[in-house]
Subunit: 453 residues, 2 copies
């Protein structure tokens, strides 16, 4: 069709395996270290937190991991997701570029997060785990895991960053509708939370603190495990279903990407989209520029350092080699709560160090302007997180307008913004501000890094 806007896969064409990029890289990423011994952590160190299957996936040398049938059964509720050509946006921009977006907002939770929440709930249930703990920032991850736990009969407790808990009561209601218990973080329920509150009674929280609380509670309860929504290898791997589908759909469209952009917080959406295309690039079958887009308020790739750091504030997790702003860094309360994490996926950090991807940072007002333009042309209101990707798409498409290049741009619209309308209200009423993050503030946060390994 000349004006085709949507590329769909049959249910029978849905990928049956996740892709693990590690064996295809020129070198493996540095391993996580035990904070005491500074030795690589083994499966036993992780057993109090994760079921064996997920630990195996975290360190797997296999290129492909089959997706279990009960996971496919739930994926089928909304997968395969559509790939859409942004023809109305292209026209509005007057660009010769062709813009495609993979839309993950069709999931019941409204984002890409169920792609990993469902297998994580499944593997825990299969291992006999009856309780899970997790943290959530903006609420997308907590919502997705609440959804998944409802379907697999697991009791879930969520620590939700205090500022989001107060500002987004409906996010909390949504998790409770699925049956989860939600605490604000820092909370009085954990040692980690009480320690923060003792020093900062008015703390608005951070993902790092919330992780400390969720990890502490899981480790203390033999029937419970912990679940993380980004950062780790197995999480990024579950998200590769996005890129695997997009690869086939772009093929349907008869196009190959020149530029791939994705927003990055912990890295799972970006990694899920990019890794299958990076495999093709490493194999010489295509040669796209692959660009991460992070918020200027939390620029781990573009202004952080590459070092071993804790994944949480209290220092309960293994040390991870990653681009980090320091585990004590508290980002500005920007609306893209899902991108407010001090560190970046160790796998993506390694790939960045290998020079295989690039990164840019964007202030939120530019991102919301892009989100509004997208809503009024394409009809879908993006979540605050993917407005970063949309802004980068528009920037690239306008460059093409100047140069006349007919580039093919691909991105993932990882969620809709229907639960983030307070942010759009701020933007529409002119109340949105971009705060400058000073070099001094970053330097101060980096002084909290553990001694170099």
């Amino acid at each position: 069709m000349a004006n085709q806007v949507k590329y769909v896969l049959q249910e029978s064409e849905m990928p049956r395996q996740w892709y693990n990029i590690v064996p295809d890289l020129p070198s493996p990423p540095p391993p996580p270290l035990h904070p005491g011994t500074r030795e690589p952590v083994g499966p036993d160190d992780l057993a109090p937190l994760f079921p064996a299957e997920l630990i195996m996936q975290e360190v797997s040398p296999e290129r492909h991991i089959p997706i279990p049938e009960p996971v496919l059964d739930v994926y089928r509720l909304w997968r395969p997701t559509p790939l859409l050509r942004a023809r109305r946006l292209e026209k509005d921009l007057g660009t010769p570029a062709r813009i495609y977006y993979k839309y993950e907002g069709v999931s019941p939770a409204g984002s890409h997060k169920p792609n990993t929440a469902v297998p994580q709930a499944y593997y825990n249930a299969a291992a006999g785990v009856s309780r899970l703990t997790t943290e959530t920032g903006a609420g997308q991850w907590g919502t997705a895991l609440s959804f998944a736990c409802a379907l697999f009969g697991i009791d879930l407790t969520v620590w939700m960053v205090r500022s989001s808990y107060d500002q987004k009561p409906y996010r909390r209601t949504l998790m409770e509708t699925y049956g989860a218990t939600v605490h604000p973080s820092p909370s009085q329920v954990t040692n980690a939370g009480r320690a923060v509150l003792a020093e900062h009674p008015d703390s608005t929280g951070s993902l790092g603190i919330a992780i400390s609380e969720a990890v502490e509670m899981a480790a203390a309860d033999p029937a419970a495990r912990y679940s993380l929504g980004s950062v780790l290898n197995h999480v990024l791997m579950h998200q590769t279903i996005i890129g695997e589908e997009a690869l086939r759909q772009l093929e349907q469209a008869g196009d190959a990407p020149d530029v791939i952009v994705g927003c990055t917080g912990g890295g799972s959406n970006f990694g899920g989209l990019a890794c299958p295309f990076l495999r093709e690039k490493l194999a010489g079958r295509m040669n796209p520029v692959i660009r991460a887009v992070e918020p200027a308020a939390c620029p781990s790739f573009t202004r952080g350092t590459y070092a071993y750091d804790f994944g949480d504030t209290a220092g309960l997790t293994p040390l991870l080699k990653m681009h980090t702003l320091g585990h004590e860094f508290i980002p500005d309360p920007i609306h893209a709560g899902g991108l407010r994490y001090h560190g970046m996926s160790p796998l993506l950090s390694h790939i960045y160090e290998l020079g295989l991807i690039e990164a840019v940072a964007k202030p939120q007002s530019e991102c919301f302007a892009a989100g509004l333009r997208f809503a009024r042309t394409e009809g879908i209101v993006p979540a605050p997180e993917p407005t970063h990707a949309v802004a980068a798409c528009i920037e690239e498409a306008l460059r093409c307008k100047e140069s006349g290049e007919e580039k093919v741009i691909l991105t993932a619209l990882c969620g809709h913004g229907l639960l983030d309308l307070a942010a759009y209200s701020d933007y529409l009423s002119g109340q949105m501000r971009d705060l400058d993050l000073s070099d001094d503030a970053i330097a101060a946060a980096l002084r909290g890094l553990p001694a170099a390994v």
Copy 2:
């Protein structure tokens, strides 16, 4: 597949025409009357409010109306929508019944309303109309028309029932994100609004009042027209794409419906699902029971009277022969704002009088209990309106459990509840109440009916 849960159509299988049931009925519905002359209204009477194409569709004797290509182009953003088998809910209920739901929440606006908002915006734009007015109760319709007007370059002004305007600021933000202007109703902007406020300064509004305001403003502005989200024949006809798709999808599943249930406010969702199946029933090709489910707080079918009444409070519209509670009826502020309309589609009212469909009424607490059960088994949080349909599905499925009958139950899940979480919060915290609607209150409202024709 033995455990198939989702039935999808190809884009090429998407219906290319809407279905008009009128020529297939044993008798046509009584015509709308001019309130002054009491004579049937003609196209000229409606020209200040609607473009010619929609007036033609309203009175068309044709069985099928082709869907214009630019409308199909927008439909393709989310259509065809999936038909899902509620296997997890069936298992949870222990029923031998097979429950299917057509899920319309995948549209960018989150409901079935864009099915008619898009053609209405298209036909107006094609006729050179640059401004539209409308009303909205819960906000689903206002959101859908804002979305459609953004895509077709029309300025939209929405009168939003005051109680929703105050309780749901994010609905307003969503319409504004798409570029619409939103007034609370009653407003100081119109004669109709000022008249209500003069008598009731604290009025929380009603759909009838908001319609008066939108109609008044459209009639006064030659460049503007008015758009209605339910009740009228052309609106129901646009929604038949739901039933046409579901018919093909159930065929894919190898099933034929024994019971079809749908929630009814003005009737567009129910009519859109039911009419294509009613055609099959009238032709003797299947024999389903077709059941409308309305809120006990606004029971036009089950406790209203069948009479000519105004569509709005101020009496600006033609007289419509319909099941009505009287145009002065102000329903309880239940959470299903989309079902709080004093009248019922004249077409469906006529079909009900012909004995072709039946109706039941449900209190909201039963509906929210059903919605919660659905969310925790099927993973999708229903909007308050379709919780009525879900409650009726569960009732039927439990009857099957007792009788052992393997009935096939079909419903439309016409929208998700992500913008209605305050209602779930009320329910979860035990604050939801069911008020009894007395016979006296209904009798009092019916005294406001215009003199019998």
